[in-house]
């Protein structure tokens, strides 16, 4: 029994490391679109961590929210902001 506890703790350690690294990269990524991609990876890594921490309930909501909804919202916002920037540039060129 002790052996299997140790294995699961190594698994947890690996997942915590994965989460820490992706979170650090996500926080340091300057460009929002790339950050959205890293956030999707962070969401997936958190899902893995929650699963090995025996929290399937939290993992389920994290999978939907962290890997899909939040990155999608950021991408859509960036797209809207970029579109108004192209409009602005077109306007200035016409003058």
């Amino acid at each position: 029994m002790n052996g299997s506890y140790a294995t699961s703790e190594y698994l947890i350690a690996v997942c915590v490391l994965l989460v820490t690294v992706t979170a650090t990269v996500a926080a340091l990524t300057p460009e929002p679109v790339r950050q959205a991609l890293v956030l999707a990876m962070l969401g997936t890594a958190l899902t893995l961590l929650f699963t090995v921490l025996q929290a399937p309930d939290v993992a389920l909501s994290q999978l939907g929210v962290g890997a899909a909804v939040t990155p999608l919202l950021i991408m859509l916002t960036v797209r809207r902001v970029r579109r108004s920037s192209t409009q602005q540039r077109d306007r200035e060129r016409q003058r």
Partner: protein, 251 residues
């Protein structure tokens, strides 16, 4: 505030936080400790209420009032988001170009769409027994619906997404949670107290109030996330600012 001053302030605060946080962590019980006094009491209470999923029991029975606050935050955030995202008086709609989709994508999408929706409903309905519940199931329902955008195009997504109904469903779900609490008051117990018949442990109908509140939260979260995403999609794909020479979603 200059950037340099802001960074200096951050580092000062970070050092204080790091020292205090590390000191606090050394005082915590060890990772993986065997004694969880709150957990043990919550599990005993969940057995008493015949709810097999103790997390659902904590969320929708033992701490239901707290969850009512949480879902009010959710409702307020959705409401505020919609107000900020609605089309302004000087913005207009541009036609959306029909996208081309690979036949294989279309097939997988139309195959997965019903499966995902059924999974979402299943997860909402079995919240009192297995991992799941209104919050998770609602998110799955909302994201699953957007497979239509991937498999077909924006027009199809708009056709299967009755926004007026979902707007109302969001409010009804939020209101239903608050109203369900009155059932307790009506029979002379406390607000949100679990007074419905508890059923048999491990059956779909067990848990009393838990599956009912789960359904209300599932409706609220599902429709709330759909209308929020709809607001953002409209902004990103359809709505054009007044003075621009934008010709639609092609860019």
């Amino acid at each position: 505030m200059s950037r340099r001053l802001r960074l200096a302030l951050f580092w000062a605060a970070a050092v204080v936080f790091a020292v205090a946080f590390t000191a606090a962590c050394t005082g915590l019980p060890d990772f993986g400790t065997l004694s969880h006094p709150y957990g043990s009491r919550a599990i005993a209470a969940a057995f008493h209420q015949r709810t097999a999923n103790t997390i659902s029991s904590v969320n929708f029975d033992q701490r239901a009032f707290d969850t009512l606050g949480e879902e009010s935050i959710l409702f307020a955030a959705v409401l505020g988001g919609l107000v900020l995202l609605r089309r302004a008086r000087d913005e207009r709609l541009a036609g959306v170009r029909r996208g081309r989709v690979l036949p294989s994508t279309r097939m997988f999408g139309s195959l997965l769409l019903p499966i995902t929706l059924v999974t979402g409903v299943y997860i909402v309905a079995h919240g009192q027994l297995s991992p799941g519940g209104g919050f998770q199931g609602g998110v799955i329902l909302a994201t699953g619906l957007h497979l239509a955008y991937i498999a077909a195009d924006y027009g199809v997504l708009k056709a299967i997404r009755p926004l007026a109904v979902l707007d109302a469903a969001d409010a009804v779900g939020a209101g239903a949670f608050a109203v369900l609490g009155l059932v307790g008051l009506a029979v002379g117990a406390a607000y949100l107290q679990n007074v419905l018949p508890l059923g048999t442990f491990g059956q779909l109908s067990s848990g009393g109030l838990v599956p009912v509140i789960n359904a209300a939260v599932g409706v609220e979260v599902g429709s709330g996330v759909v209308v929020l995403l709809a607001g953002f999609l409209d902004q990103a794909v359809e709505i054009v600012s007044p003075t621009g020479k934008d010709n639609g979603a092609g860019r």
